[in-house]
Amino acid sequence: MSLRGFIIRRTIYIVPVMLGITLMNFTLINVSPGDPVVVRIGLIHCETPDCYNQAYNQEAFEMGLLDQNMYTVPWFTRYINFVNDLLHFDLGNSWYYTQAGEGVPIAQIISERAVYTLVLNILSFIFSLLLATAIGVVSATRQNSFWDRSLTVAMLLGYSMPLFWLAKLLMLLSYQLFNFTGVANKDAFRKPLFLNPSFYKYLILPTLALTLGGLVFMARLVRSQLLEILRQDYITTAKAKGLDNRAVIYKHAFRNGLLPIVTIIGNSLPGLLAGSVMIERVFGWPGIGTVFLEGALFRDYPLMMATNTIFPLLFLIARLLTDITYVFIDPRIKY
């Protein structure tokens, strides 16, 4: 089968998984106790029960729980409506984020905030990948040396440190050294964003924290993978025929060790995403993670529903890309 056929098949495969995920979220919201309409109208001030009932019905109608004749809409109709809206990129209006009394459309919030999350994540992902490779190679080629031991212990300590606490400690350290906590303020996000020097200033600490978080996880992996490969016979052969160390490691060992590393990193992307949510919250970085957490703290159902659809979608796309990279890494894999 050709590569293109494989990609098309895998892309189509995302659809049923996404349907399952949205159905799961939808069911969870429906079986949860408490009436979302009551949550929504909150402490409405009413003299008579009639007034309250009218407000209640009006709200329920707007939320799509009641139809025009005030009959309850069955759950499958609501689910189909929800999926239909999703396909039209209509994620509904937020309850928590409001502008002039109206809820801001969630699609708008997310498209505004996605750039912050993307910049932070891509930067720290690249940094941690590069650093993890360097550390892994240093540790594996000089096994049991002073550097290997100290790096391994450092990685282990970092691996056991909760990521949010690592971020807090970085904040404390930076406060003590430079009197700068790194908590983002309005100043950092003045447009144009990429020409704004203070944007980069406030980017440093979150990127550093997220880089460390990914680094400790990947470096362990690279090290153990490389160690296993360096024991193989073909490495001995390569050394025996007089190749220098650099060529042995990067040409022979590294390419073969890449496949499991890519697999595990691809599968751990949800964890890395969760890490990004934590870091964003700690540093007040206004990305999608902060939006999600704030929405959750204030029980903003539509917003949570939207983010819970977007995060798995991102993950599935990332896994698709992972599978495609296999073909370029490993010439033996044919589809």
């Binding site: 799961m24 282990l156 969760a274």
Partner: protein, 352 residues
């Protein structure tokens, strides 16, 4: 001739293999594992940390239960809702040479508030300082071990049990059950656990069940977290099912239950032990993270909730959040060290 043979054999075995043989001489499977762990310094450090924490959690649990028992029975005086009137059974330490009527108090009741002693830095009387409401941080950390560790243990054990049962069924019987289960696992796997947990906690925070909010959290954690265990158990069962000893047992007419419990399960115990040990570390970390971001139970005495309460005081009063965070770190470190060492001991092929 015989001497030459022996010499050749000695020559063929390298030093490492010889040492391995020495370790295994005349021992069962588990004592071999134990001997391997004992040789691993990091593993032993992890084991000591874990044992210390379990002891601490048990002691604090018993002390607190005893205190509550006395308070509820009105034996001395006390109203469980009134922090001032708590019995506050101290754990006292009397150093010879000090006055006997005012001994040093090691641990107070975790909710006991010292009047006018809020935000004190670490001192002789309060080794970990006091928090913003005048509670002794050392006591908070000591009694918080119960909830923090119990959540990790219970959460991970239920997850592993559900995962093992479902994975065993799928791996042993295969067919439609296997297909359905794999699809469900795929769904659960594509959701970031932390985010899905927050979603569920927010939706179900009004549920009233005995055990409070953390009971709800643990139940849902075990309902969505079993995917990884089930996958590993399934593949283990799948490969063991085709081994000759299972075929032989089947030919002898053994029932499915006997094959599963007597033959396959003991053979796939090693990965399960590793999953539990490393999983407890992850679970404790996850619950601490949930509490840190405000999705815990603010009334519970646990490290994560203390961390959440005082996280913004880090720059001004660093000792308040520092000590609970340190204990979370040590717990996760201990379980990680022990888990790594167990993995090396149970499956020496993976060792570097």
């Amino acid at each position: 001739m015989a001497v030459a043979d022996e010499q050749r054999e000695e020559f063929l075995l390298d030093e490492k293999t010889l040492r391995e043989i020495e370790t295994m001489k005349g021992a069962g499977q588990w004592s071999i594992v134990w001997r391997r762990i004992k040789k691993d310094k990091m593993g032993m450090l992890g084991l000591y940390i874990v044992l210390f924490l379990i002891l601490m959690a048990f002691t604090s649990w018993i002390l607190l239960s005893f205190d509550q028992f006395l308070t509820n029975r009105d034996i001395i005086l006390g109203d469980p809702n009134n922090a001032i009137s708590l019995n506050n059974l101290y754990v006292e330490l009397w150093i010879p040479g000090m006055p006997k009527d005012s001994p040093i108090v090691l641990f107070n009741h975790p909710r006991y508030q010292f009047a006018d002693q809020a935000k004190l830095p670490p001192s002789f009387l309060h080794p970990f300082g006091t928090d913003g409401t005048g509670q002794d941080m050392l006591s908070r950390v000591f009694f918080g071990a119960t909830v923090s560790l119990a959540l990790g243990f219970i959460g991970q054990m239920t997850t592993v049990i559900i995962g093992t049962v479902l994975g065993a069924i799928a791996g042993f019987y295969g067919g439609v059950i296997d297909d359905v289960l794999q699809r469900i696992i795929e769904l659960l796997y594509s959701m970031p656990g932390f985010i899905l947990m927050i979603f569920i906690i927010v939706l179900f925070e009004d549920v009233q069940i005995p055990g409070g909010r953390y009971a709800v959290v643990v139940i849902f954690f075990s309902l969505i977290g079993w995917g990884g265990t089930a996958l590993i158990v399934r593949s283990n069962f799948f490969s063991l099912k085709q081994q000759d000893f299972v075929e032989a047992e089947k030919a002898l007419g053994a029932s499915d239950m006997r094959i599963i419990f007597k033959h396959i399960l003991p053979n796939s115990l090693a990965p399960l032990i590793i999953i539990v040990t490393l999983g407890i570390a992850n679970t404790i970390f996850l619950f601490a993270a949930l509490a840190f971001f405000g999705f815990g139970d603010p009334n519970a005495v646990s490290w994560g909730d203390d961390l959440n309460k005082w996280q913004n005081d880090l720059l001004e009063y660093p000792w308040m959040p520092m000590f609970p965070a340190m204990f979370i770190f040590f717990t996760v470190l201990g379980f990680n060290l022990l888990g790594d060492s167990l993995r090396d001991a149970l499956d020496p092929r993976l060792k570097d």
